[in-house]
C-alpha cells in the first residue's frame, strides 16, 4: 500500500513535469467521456420527457388510427403503415362507439390540417386540430382565458376556435383574443379561449396549435373522414375489454386492415424502445471517441518510454525491479485516463445541466459509472503494452541509449 502510494506520487510528479503533454493526452479521454455523458443524458432526457407526455395522455386511453399497425407485447413493435392509410372514420362511428361501448367512458374524434390564421394583418400558418368538447378533460389541459367550446357549439358546427399559447402570442401579442374574430382558411372564426401552456417537445411546439370542433373542421377543410379516435376506458382494468369492444363495433362497417387500436401502454413501450436504442447508439458513437482517446494515451506512453529509456536504465541500475517499472508506467497511464475521465464527468454534468435549459437532458448514473469504468479500463489496456516494454528493457542497453 505504501509502495503503491509512492508510485502514485512518482507518477503524478512525472506527469506534472510534462504538463502540456499530459493535458493534451487527457483531452482525448475528456472529450470521449464528456460526449458519452452528454449524449446519453440527451437520449434519456428525451425518453423521459416523451414518456411523461404520453403518460399525461392518461393511461386509460386508446387510440384508433387508420391502417394496420402492430404493437407487439414485451416492447417489440413496429410503426409500419401507421397513419399512412387513408382514414375511413366518420362521426357516426364516434356516436356508435359512444353509445354501444359498455367499457368506454368517452370517445373523441380527432382530425388535423394545416391552415393560415390571420388577424389584423398578421398571418400565422399552423396546425389546426379538429377535436370534440371533451378534449380539455382528456388532455388534462384547461383554458386559461375564456372557455373551450361546448357540446352544442360542436353539434351545430359553429365557427369557433381555441388557441394555443404560441398561436395567441403570434397573432395577438399581449392583446386579449377572447371574442375577437380571426380568419381561418378564408372563414371567420370567433376566438373562444386560450389553452394553458404545455411546453415544447424538442423543436415541436405543442402550444403552436389551434382547436376547432370536429364537424367544423370537416366542413372547413372539406374532409369526408376524421383522422383518429381517442377512446377513454372507464378504468384501467377496462382498457383491454374496451379495446375489444372498439374492434367489434368498428368491424361492422370497416375492414380489419382499415384501422388499428393501440393503447398508451403499447405506445409507451414502443417509444421507449426506440429512444432506448437511440440512446445506446449515441453512447456507442461517443464511445468511439473514448477509444481514440485511449489510443492517444498508448501513443504518448510509447513515446514516453522511448524518450525515457535512459531514465529507465538508471532506475533499474539503482534497484528498480521490472515490476516497479511496470507499475510506474501503468499508473501513469491510469492517472492520465482516470484524470481525464473525472474532468470529463464534471464537464458532461455541467454541459447537460446547460443543455437542459433548452432541451430535455438528464444525466443518468449508469452513463457516469460506465464512462468512469471505461476510462479506467482504457488506462489499463492501453498502458499495459508501453509499460511492459519499459519493464523488459535491458538496463545496460537502456543506459547506453542516446
Amino acid at each position: 500500500m505504501e509502495k503503491l502510494f509512492e508510485t502514485l506520487k512518482l507518477a503524478a510528479r512525472t506527469l506534472k513535469a510534462n504538463k502540456l503533454r499530459s493535458s493534451l493526452t487527457m483531452l482525448g479521454v475528456i472529450i470521449g467521456v464528456t460526449s458519452v455523458i452528454l449524449l446519453v443524458s440527451i437520449g434519456s432526457g428525451l425518453k423521459s420527457y416523451i414518456t411523461g407526455q404520453l403518460e399525461d395522455l392518461g393511461s386509460n386511453l386508446l387510440m384508433v388510427m387508420p391502417g394496420e399497425m402492430e404493437v407487439g407485447s414485451g416492447g417489440s413493435g413496429s410503426m409500419q403503415g401507421a397513419g399512412m392509410a387513408a382514414p375511413k372514420f366518420t362521426m357516426n362511428h364516434q356516436k356508435e362507439l359512444q353509445a354501444k361501448g359498455i367499457n368506454i367512458k368517452r370517445v373523441m374524434a380527432y382530425t388535423e390540417n394545416n391552415a393560415t390564421l390571420a388577424y389584423a394583418g398578421k398571418k400565422h400558418i399552423t396546425q389546426v386540430a379538429g377535436v370534440t368538447y371533451e378534449y380539455p378533460d382528456i388532455r388534462n389541459q384547461k383554458a386559461v382565458l375564456g372557455t373551450f367550446f361546448n357540446v352544442s357549439q360542436q353539434e351545430s358546427a359553429k365557427k369557433v376556435v381555441i388557441l394555443g399559447a404560441t398561436v395567441t402570442e403570434k397573432l395577438f401579442g399581449t392583446e386579449n383574443p377572447v371574442g375577437k374574430k380571426i380568419t381561418l382558411s378564408e372563414s371567420k372564426f370567433t376566438v373562444l379561449g386560450v389553452l394553458e401552456k404545455k411546453g415544447a417537445l424538442g423543436g415541436n411546439d405543442m402550444d403552436n396549435q389551434a382547436f376547432i370542433p370536429v364537424p367544423t373542421a370537416l366542413d372547413t377543410f372539406e374532409m369526408d373522414y376524421v383522422l383518429a379516435f381517442w377512446v377513454q376506458a372507464k378504468s384501467k382494468e377496462q382498457v383491454e375489454p374496451a379495446k375489444e369492444e372498439v374492434k367489434k363495433i368498428l368491424l361492422r362497417t370497416l375492414k380489419d386492415d382499415d384501422f388499428s387500436v393501440i393503447d398508451t401502454k403499447g405506445l409507451l413501450s414502443m417509444v421507449s424502445q426506440i429512444l432506448g436504442t437511440l440512446t445506446v447508439a449515441l453512447a456507442g458513437i461517443a464511445g468511439i471517441s473514448l477509444l481514440v482517446g485511449g489510443i492517444g494515451i498508448m501513443n504518448i506512453m510509447l513515446v514516453s518510454v522511448m524518450e525515457r529509456t535512459k531514465e529507465i536504465g538508471l532506475r533499474k541500475a539503482i534497484g528498480a525491479t521490472p515490476k516497479i517499472i511496470m507499475t510506474q508506467f501503468l499508473i501513469e497511464s491510469i492517472v492520465l485516463s482516470v484524470g481525464g475521465g473525472l474532468i470529463g464527468i464534471i464537464l458532461g454534468f455541467g454541459g447537460s445541466v446547460l443543455i437542459n435549459q433548452f432541451f430535455p437532458a438528464m444525466v443518468t448514473a449508469w452513463s457516469v459509472l460506465l464512462a468512469f469504468l471505461v476510462s479506467v479500463i482504457i488506462g489499463v489496456i492501453f498502458g499495459v503494452m508501453p509499460a511492459a516494454r519499459a519493464a523488459r528493457l535491458n538496463p545496460i542497453q537502456a543506459l547506453r541509449y542516446e
Binding site: 505504501e2 509502495k3 509512492e6 512518482l10 510528479r13 513535469a17 510534462n18 535512459k310 531514465e311 536504465g313 538508471l314 532506475r315 533499474k316 541500475a317 539503482i318 534497484g319 528498480a320 525491479t321 521490472p322 515490476k323 516497479i324 538496463p395 545496460i396 543506459l399
Partner: protein, 202 residues
C-alpha cells in the same frame, strides 16, 4: 567468442582500484558484471561472500539497490526532478519511509556541499554539481561497493580533479571503490590499477 576470459580478481574491503583499458577491451563488460547489471555465461562472482552470479532479475535489482552505488560519465540524473528527489530514489526502492528519506537525502547532499541546491533541477546545476548529486545518490544506501564509470569523462580537468578528491575522501572514510577509466592520470589516484586488454587482465 567470449568477451572476457581467465578473469580472476579479488577486490578487498576499503580498496580503491582502477580498471583501465582501451575501448573494446572488455572493461565495460567487466564493470557490468561487477555491478550486477549482467550475468556471466560461466564463472562465478561473489559480493560480500555471497554468490551473486546466478540471481534472478528481481534479486539482482535488490542487491544493486542495497550494495552497489553507481556513478556514470553522463551523471544520469532524472530530468525535471529535484536533486533531493534524485537522491531519494534508491531509498524509495529500498522501502524507506518518506520522512527518513528526506532527512537522509538532505544530509547526504549537504555533505557533498549542495545544501543550498537540494531543490534545483539537474538542468539548473553545473556538471560538477550534477556529478556530486549522482555521487550522493550512489552513497545513500551505504553500499558495499561504489562503481564509477568514467566519472570525470564529461567534466573539465579542474572539476574532474574536484570529483577525484571526493573519491579519495570516500576511500579514507572506509568505502570500497571501483573506478573504470581509459585515462591513466585519473587511474593513478587508486591504490591499484587493473589493466584489461582483449578480455584478459594483463
Amino acid at each position: 567468442m567470449s568477451v572476457l576470459h581467465n578473469i580472476n580478481m579479488t577486490i578487498k574491503k576499503n580498496e580503491f582500484i582502477s580498471i583501465v583499458g582501451p575501448s573494446g577491451s572488455g572493461k565495460s563488460t567487466l564493470m557490468h558484471l561487477i555491478g550486477l547489471l549482467d550475468t556471466p555465461t560461466s564463472g562465478r562472482i561473489f559480493l560480500d561472500n555471497e554468490d551473486v552470479s546466478k540471481l534472478s532479475e528481481e534479486k539482482m535489482a535488490s542487491v544493486r539497490n542495497r550494495k552497489i552505488g553507481f556513478v556514470f560519465q553522463t551523471f544520469n540524473l532524472i530530468p525535471r526532478t529535484s536533486a533531493l528527489a534524485n537522491v531519494e530514489l534508491p531509498l524509495i526502492y529500498a522501502g524507506v519511509p518518506d520522512e527518513q528519506r528526506k532527512e537522509k537525502a538532505t544530509k547526504m547532499l549537504e555533505s557533498m556541499g549542495l545544501g543550498e541546491r537540494i531543490y534545483h533541477f539537474p538542468n539548473q546545476l553545473s556538471g560538477g554539481e550534477q556529478q556530486r548529486v549522482a555521487i550522493a545518490r550512489a552513497l545513500i544506501n551505504n553500499p558495499s561497493l561504489i562503481l564509477a564509470d568514467e566519472p570525470t569523462g564529461n567534466l573539465d580537468s579542474k572539476t574532474g580533479n574536484q570529483i577525484m578528491e571526493i573519491f579519495k575522501k570516500l576511500k579514507k572514510e572506509g568505502n570500497t571503490i571501483v573506478l573504470v577509466t581509459h585515462d591513466m592520470e585519473v587511474a593513478k589516484v587508486a591504490d591499484r590499477i587493473v589493466k584489461i586488454y582483449d578480455g584478459e587482465i594483463v
